[in-house]
Homo-oligomer: 190 residues x 2
């Protein structure tokens, strides 16, 4: 049960984006550009940024959704475990380790990002655009996580829900879906 009355029974962010479509549309558009648009970062790399920020913001819905999307894009449980608990030893490139470190600093506070974090990423081969997008994706998930939890939205427990949602996000992206969202089987929920 969300803290406010929604016009639908969808969980997490999906219910919020449908509830106020005028604000939902630019949020979807920004996410689609950043996570699925043209980029020298892979979709998996961008989902890892979403995942590490959501985990550190303790947002269960977003962490479940984006970790399931990492799996849907070919990741595995070991990768996720490292992203959560030991990103410096995650099986990713040195460039990605440096970008994940920037994302983790953005999660804390913008001013936590220092010159040294940026130079590490540049030395590891990150472009200015990759650094820009890392900061903006991390900042966007600081918005998402607060929106979802600040309104106390419903967070399904069933892993099958997130697998179904992730399959949609991996194949269709973040645009406005024709049907309004992924439901948990046929059941409705409060």
């Amino acid at each position: 049960m969300a803290y406010i009355q929604l016009n639908n029974q969808l969980p997490g962010i999906t219910g919020l984006l449908e509830n106020r479509k005028d604000t939902g549309a630019p949020i979807r558009e920004l996410t689609q550009i950043l996570l699925r648009g043209e980029s020298t970062l892979t979709e998996m790399e961008r989902e890892l940024i979403a995942t590490i920020v959501s985990y550190r913001n303790q947002c269960r819905f977003c962490t479940n959704a984006h970790s399931a999307t990492v799996i849907a894009l070919g990741g595995d449980a070991d990768l996720l475990d490292k992203i959560y608990h030991d990103p410096e030893n995650a099986p990713v490139s040195e460039k990605m380790k440096a970008l994940l470190a920037i994302a983790a600093k953005v999660q804390e506070l913008g001013k936590s990002v220092k010159e040294e974090h940026i130079s590490r990423a540049k030395k590891a081969g990150a472009t200015d655009l990759e650094i820009h997008d890392t900061v903006l994706i991390a900042a966007l998930f600081c918005l998402y996580n607060r929106y979802v939890d600040g309104l106390g939205t419903y967070c399904p427990e069933d892993p099958a829900y997130y697998q179904k949602l992730a399959s949609r996000l991996a194949t269709m992206g973040y645009g406005s879906p024709k049907d309004p969202g992924v439901r948990i089987g046929e059941e409705s929920f409060k």
Copy 2:
């Protein structure tokens, strides 16, 4: 000097929105809807939410910009001082005090917002939409503040810069401006 090379010399968020216009457009659109769209919260009340969150995120550019906008909309120094240091005694309605308390919780973390904060706002007469918009405005400024500071953008010291920017935001809102931004007099800056 921002941490990355921008295609312009504009400070703070203005340089970032011009630098990558495809991501800038939905951010501007979302802000225009939330801060200047139809609402039972006044523009001043919505700017106070932006200000309290930016102040608590220690984002100097955004705090300066939105506090100057509060002044441009008729606020004064005492109101701002209370918003920063003692919001429970700010010269605003009980409903606004409850909404500012929610915004302050959103700034910490989404899950810091509890039922008790929401019921206080509802008892003071806040509608579900006002609560929704308070949470989303606060979450949006958690994005902005991290974007601006996470990329180490230039923060002007001259109060006249923020007065000019605030005058534009108070009268023209957050849509894409015809000229790309407010400059500091005629000088260029790094």
